[in-house]
């Protein structure tokens, strides 16, 4: 299918794809914003949740924070490579980022298995309900990000659609930033 | 204007009706002014042979006045409406006059349980009178109500009192009313609460002191026989 002329215009002075990514992120911010605002309101109303929160594993959380931050770094490097027109190199860096995403998910599933094993399931109480849903929605963004990066890397490897490397990078930074909010709210505030 | 439909049976019913009247007068004026202008323009500037429409951008000061002056007048009307509404609101919902009696209202799917204080005037004592779907109150007494729900949201609504309050599971909401007019009236549930929501009416009996005392004696006898 050919792209319409509409897609190639940029009356606002920014590429169409990038503009759409920003609007996508704007809508995502409101979704996470609503969820986290609800959580914070409950946290303030229920001092006893601090005790529930103390059963989260800060070390595993820290490890995952480190993994995600490093994967953002390789996304930046992929963008640099793409700007220089080196699609093969960009694809390689994207694969490193995907590796980070997979590591994050593996660590997350180990963490959840341990917690569920200890009886901290989603229905245990209000805190755990928010814990699983907030982290779960974030994790689903990690999965989607990994798939999209794989698709972008496939094209980039053939030196096609290199502008997409930056777009997926911006999305990945967003996923990263959401985690930076979740980590203190779910793990550190005890 | 509401009193022509539904009698005023509480001390604050007239206040609420007056706010409604004030809003009706102010918005009514603007409504008829705008509709009058609208239909006059439609008639005056209907298509006629040989007439071309004028070219007006809306930036002409003499025309813009027609927008700006009403604009300011509307802001002034708004100030009156907000002030009146808040004054009544503060009186009805934000202040709690000293209670003569306290009743408890428990909502559930799909019935109202009214716990009245017995002859001792105290709630939560042995002589409490508990009734389903019947609330008995005495004129001229300030009542506090403690509104609770055991399952879903309900809403305790008494149109003749101009009183309405949601019942929320897990909370006890306190409010007040003072009945002024003896009679019996509808109580409605004003929050969707499931299949039986349409059945969840109750009756309110506003009684004179004598009637109320008589009712209390009757209930006391029934209670004594039951023991």
């Amino acid at each position: 299918m050919m792209k319409p002329v509409a897609t190639t215009r940029s009356a606002a002075g920014i590429s169409t794809g990038m503009l759409a990514v920003w609007w996508l992120l704007a809508s995502e911010i409101v979704i996470f914003g609503g969820l986290l605002a609800s959580y914070i309101m409950h946290r303030l109303a229920h001092p006893e949740w601090a005790e529930y929160a103390s059963h989260t594993n800060t070390w595993i959380g820290t490890l995952n924070t480190f993994v995600l931050l490093s994967s953002s770094l390789s996304a930046v490097l992929a963008h640099h490579a793409a700007e220089k027109g080196d699609g093969k190199k960009a694809a390689k860096y994207l694969l490193v980022t995907i590796g980070g995403a997979l590591t994050f998910l593996v660590v997350k599933s180990i963490e959840w298995s341990i917690e569920i094993h200890h009886g901290y399931t989603i229905t245990a109480n209000g805190f755990w309900a928010f814990y699983y849903v907030a982290a779960g929605i974030h994790a689903s963004h990690v999965i989607v990000g990994a798939i999209v990066m794989g698709w972008v890397a496939w094209y980039a490897n053939q030196n096609r659609e290199l502008q997409r490397v930056e777009m997926v990078g911006v999305y990945w930074h967003f996923v990263d930033i959401v985690w930076i909010f979740l980590f203190p709210l779910l793990y550190i505030a005890k | 204007m509401i009193e022509q439909y539904v009698v005023q049976a509480s001390t604050y019913a007239a206040d609420i009706d007056n706010v409604i009247l004030l809003i009706a007068v102010l918005t009514g004026f603007w409504f008829f002014a705008a509709q009058g202008m609208f239909f006059w323009l439609l008639f005056r500037f209907r298509e006629r042979p040989g007439h071309k429409a004028e070219y007006v951008t809306g930036d002409e000061p003499d025309l813009k006045r027609w927008i700006n002056i009403p604009h300011i007048l509307i802001i002034i009307c708004d100030v009156f409406i907000v002030a009146a509404a808040i004054m009544v609101w503060v009186n009805v919902k934000q202040t709690l006059p000293e209670a003569d009696r306290t009743i408890r209202i428990v909502a559930q799917q799909w019935a109202w349980t009214f716990v009245h204080p017995g002859p001792d005037g105290q709630l939560d004592t042995d002589d409490d009178i508990t009734m389903i779907d019947e609330l008995h109150v005495e004129v001229g007494q300030v009542y506090h109500y403690q509104l609770e729900s055991t399952d879903v949201l309900h809403d305790f609504s008494v149109p003749v009192f101009r009183l309405k309050q949601d019942a929320i599971p897990g909370r006890r909401i306190v409010g007040w009313f003072e009945p002024t007019l003896p009679g019996h009236y509808d109580i409605q549930c004003a929050e969707m609460c499931g299949i039986g929501h349409g059945l969840m009416g109750a009756r309110l009996f506003v009684e004179t002191p004598e009637q109320h005392a008589q009712w209390m004696r009757d209930r006391g006898e029934i209670l004594a026989r039951a023991h």
Partner: protein, 558 residues
């Protein structure tokens, strides 16, 4: 581009052409409107004749009554107003009016429609599962909606939430497409203030939707988990809070009113300028009042919850913000009325609808003040006064403005004219019966009659008012029957109507410069814009309209 021998399925069901997708949304919305109208018929008949055997429905049980009321509201807002006003007109008009060949993301556009269609199917299917359709009101407040033991429709409730959430996702994706297209793909020469108001309003509406719906998407996920795995976000027994859901719902719910109102106002702006042959009065004021209304609409939501157990001090703040919103809306009404001044007004069918919108919406607007003022709302909350009020806003939006838009752009969409006579008959019957339905309901509301009650036999003070209910129901039945006139006019004109030509209304905007219906890709050569959209009866121009892409006289002479 499209080849000639595409098969029927690919052309009409798998198309990425914005015009086909627009028609898909429009026909889906019309089909859903028939279902929503049928529900209205069922519950109004039950109210007029409680317990009677209703033709085409049967005896309405209390549970069915609740399900009809609930889904009537849900359908009319989410599956009629949204798809027709934003998605159908947005899809059809944005590329054509800004001089582009398509949306910027045609395949995303197709996907949005497919998700939307899926959501509609799930909603309709919820009526056929064990337990039946959800009946906990379109607001779906927990705990009633969160627990099958309370609502007795464990499956129907979850399908309802799923359908609504999917519909939100579809419109988020669609919205990104609309906003990006309008921002980036305008024809050369088209500056911000040369964009037709309807496009501006659809874009502002999409942004409002995007900025308000997020918390409710989160809320829908929480509600679904409460229903299906027993989490208890909204359950007081496990430390949850039922009122939290109300905040999430109305934080979206109030801006949503403006999400559907703005496209309707946009359609009306296009039509009144064309048929009064006038420039829009104070274009910039129109735009700024819309933006002001949109921003304010995020700070008024708790006026739906005055008596819902929120801190009573909060009600004072929300009374102020709510009454404040009357200022830009009143300003907008004045500007629209002022546009008629000095015009040469033609009472065509689209113009009649547009004018009716203004007259009727005004009633909805002023009655809203009663509900936004906390002191008066204590009495009116949850009565038929509220119901009549929002039908005086939503009916003009979802029905009157939609008829205005359809009758106005029909020649462009199908290349033929609709019948004026049939259109006028349909118009007058619909408008008169509309008022005949809802004026009695205002009176019933003033009488303190509450909503969502399937029979008033159990309320002695209200039962004597039955004649008013029967009158309203009679008007509804006549109105529904009158829609047959429209449907016949619509489909017969589509096949047999008089050929329309490119520009039957002698209008300025770019969609009228191309053939009717426009080919795939819209423009033979993409246009260049030289002026604003409302240059009617310009003194420097002989004709009383001046298309946006017509070259200025000096250039065309050389």
């Amino acid at each position: 581009m499209a080849s000639q021998n595409e098969n029927f399925f690919l052309k009409y069901f798998w198309s990425t052409d914005h015009k086909i997708i627009a028609l898909q949304y429009m026909f889906t919305g019309m089909a859903m409107a028939l279902i929503g109208g049928y529900f209205a018929y069922a519950f109004r008949m039950q109210l007029a004749f409680p317990g009677a055997e209703i033709p085409l429905v049967g005896v309405v049980t209390p549970h069915e009554y609740n399900a009809f009321v609930t889904n009537h509201g849900t359908i009319m807002i989410f599956w009629v107003a949204m798809p027709v006003l934003i998605a159908a007109f947005g899809n059809y008009l944005i590329p054509l009016m800004i001089g582009a060949d398509d949306m910027v993301f045609p395949r995303l556009n197709r996907l949005s429609y497919q998700i939307f269609l899926l959501s509609a199917i799930i909603l309709v299917a919820s009526f056929f599962v064990p337990g039946g359709g959800f009946g906990g009101a379109w607001t779906a407040y927990p705990p009633l909606s969160a627990d099958g033991a309370y609502n007795l429709t464990p499956l129907g409730a979850s399908m309802w939430v799923t359908a609504v959430a999917l519909e939100f996702v579809a419109f988020l994706m669609g919205g990104i497409n609309f906003i990006t297209t309008a921002m980036n793909s305008r024809a050369p020469g088209m500056k911000a203030f040369d964009v037709p108001i309807v496009i501006w309003f659809i874009v502002i509406a999409s942004i409002l939707f995007m900025a308000s719906v997020g918390p409710l998407i989160a809320g829908a996920i929480m509600l679904l988990f409460d229903q299906q795995i027993g989490t208890g976000y909204f359950d007081a027994r496990t430390g949850g809070d039922p009122v939290l859901y109300q905040h999430l719902f109305w934080f979206f719910g109030h801006p949503e009113v403006y999400v559907v109102l703005l496209p309707a106002l946009g359609i009306v702006a296009e039509i009144i300028t064309v048929f009064s042959r006038k420039k829009l009065f104070a274009y910039k004021i129109v735009l700024y009042t819309a933006i002001a209304t949109g921003v304010l609409s995020f700070f008024v939501w708790a006026h739906h919850q005055f008596i819902a157990g929120i801190d009573p001090r909060m009600a004072n703040i929300f009374t102020v913000t709510t009454v404040l919103i009357s200022i830009p809306i009143a300003e907008m009404c004045f500007v629209y009325i002022a546009t008629l001044y000095g015009g040469s007004i033609r009472f065509t069918v689209p113009m009649l609808w547009a004018l009716a919108f203004m007259a009727e919406f005004l009633i909805g607007g002023v009655t809203g003040i009663f509900l936004g003022a906390s002191g008066a709302d204590i009495y009116f909350h949850d009565t038929y006064f509220v119901l009549a009020h929002f039908h005086y806003t939503f009916f003009p939006i979802a029905i009157i403005a939609v008829f205005a838009g359809i009758t106005y752009w029909f020649p462009k969409m199908f290349g033929r004219m609709m019948s004026e006579t049939a259109g006028k008959v349909h118009f007058w019957i619909t408008i008169l019966t509309f008022n005949g339905i809802f004026i009695p309901l205002f009176v019933l509301g003033a009488w303190g009659q509450h909503r969502r009650i399937y029979s008033y036999e159990h309320f002695p003070d209200l039962w004597e008012l039955q004649p008013l209910r029967i009158f309203a129901t009679t008007c509804l039945v006549i109105m529904l029957l009158a829609q047959v006139i429209f449907l016949v006019n619509f489909f017969v004109s589509m096949l047999r109507g008089k050929k329309a030509g490119n520009n039957p209304w002698r209008a300025n905007t770019l969609e009228w410069t191309v053939p009717s219906p426009p080919p795939h890709g819209n423009f033979e050569t993409l246009p260049v814009v030289h002026r604003g959209p409302y240059e009617y009866s310009h003194p420097d121009h002989d004709e009383d309209f001046w298309p946006q892409d017509a070259a200025p006289a000096a250039e065309s002479a050389s």
